[in-house]
Symmetry: C2
Subunit: 318 residues, 2 copies
Amino acid sequence: MRITVLAGGIGAARFLTGLRTLGHNITVIGNNGDDVTMYGLRICPDLDTVMYTLGGGISAERGWGREDETFRVRDDIGAYVAASGTDDLPSWFGLGDLDLATHLVRAHWLAEGLPLSTVTARLCARWETGVRLMPSTDDPVETHVTLADGERVHFQEWWVRLHASVPANAIELFGAADAQPAPGVVDAIADADVVLLPPSNPVVSVGTILAIKGIREAVVATAAPVVGVSPIIGGAPVRGMADACLAAIGVETSAYAVARHYGDLLDGWLVDESDKADADRLAGDGLAARAVPLWMSDIDATARIADAALTLAADVRK
Amino acid sequence: MRITVLAGGIGAARFLTGLRTLGHNITVIGNNGDDVTMYGLRICPDLDTVMYTLGGGISAERGWGREDETFRVRDDIGAYVAASGTDDLPSWFGLGDLDLATHLVRAHWLAEGLPLSTVTARLCARWETGVRLMPSTDDPVETHVTLADGERVHFQEWWVRLHASVPANAIELFGAADAQPAPGVVDAIADADVVLLPPSNPVVSVGTILAIKGIREAVVATAAPVVGVSPIIGGAPVRGMADACLAAIGVETSAYAVARHYGDLLDGWLVDESDKADADRLAGDGLAARAVPLWMSDIDATARIADAALTLAADVRK
């Protein structure tokens, strides 16, 4: 079966490790909203998290970045920061030494004029991910967050440096108006047998993929059933600070509200067994929703979630 | 005394450690011919060698790069090189982890639009070099080498990857025609009490500084005596492969021939005591030349060489 997944970072990557065990033909459309240019390098955190996780190179402890990572470069940058007397060197970003190798190779190929989609495929050649990973777009996009005082910061700065502790008034994908879907993205959605939304942040992961002109339309238009897995369990994000993002766009932090936020995109929705009331309410609204255990505690549990999503897809297709 | 030095890499840096002990006001104009863009980063090997050496951060063993260096990033890049099936990733360049911190900070400030001269001053703030270090130019220049078969490669590729083992037909500073001296460079030469050419490669270190429009003219025009220290001892380069560079421009590898190559630029020339015949021959040609021990075996020996250069400068000024 051809399965196309719209993926954010850690949650999606973990979901994919389970999905992959079921042996299908998987295409992953990755989020570029987290992309940031730092120290002259284009960094694509979500693409890398998926690549490292599926390639067995992810830090199991942190969930992002590389296993056996060291931070010698970052620490030495710190000596420049301390001596420079300027505050324009971002020292809050966790730039690991091994991770840097990826950023440098990406920078090299981008500087050669290769599009990000080609660069991503080349990087993945090393990691043998078992999926086809592509960026949502080859064009530069970044998620920007407008803070309460009107200041606009890169999503990464809000998320990593400020830990989303300052309320966001708006979250938008800067560059979306001029961005085209990367080659193959629209076809991967149109030609899929199933489209899955893994338990990723609905605003800054899946939302920023859908913000690329033509991708939302492709998801609405595809003949494939579109099934999502709730990233909210018991009124709280499974991980991360999705509640802060949902608040910024006026959506309640519940499995029910996120499904309603996705609206006509969805043909089916999985919620955790503890959120059965949400599933019942959605069923009342006419959406095929099912409550199953959604904690991705290990690879088997994660595979069962993926399997439940595919089962729901098969059922809604009938 | 205001001393201005036209500096290449290792030889110049070592000379400067000796000169610095004599307690003058030193301005160093660094060579940019070795500069290269790699993995999206602008790398300035000669500026860094001077900065690290005077800042106490140089690898004593290698003479370039950082002390206590590791190569985790480079080795991990190697895994991408191996998997990529392409040969366009330069894996021959010794990109150390600590060294990378410098390149990343430089890239960050360059991307902000700061000129290389400002960036260099900011980087030096950390290292407390005791000199004023400036690039020869803020404009992008690189030394290119034309090989016997007509292929043109970056100097670094010829020097580091090919170990200068392939004869060079021509060596030229690409971009020189459009490059302006960095702010302060011409004044530093005009206003100096002494201008020194340390034992640097006459072709790809000092020659590429002089190739910037206006710098050679400033050295010729300055009222200060211009004294050079021969990088050739006993018909061989003190270090490096300067003979291969001299051959490319049709200059013999001798202390005598290099002085004649510099021509009317020089007011004085130091050769090693073993090259006394060269000094006598130059004196016969009308150039103030002196034979003294030129091996920079330790800081004291190096300081004595610098002192001999200043003494010669004082004598030719009379």
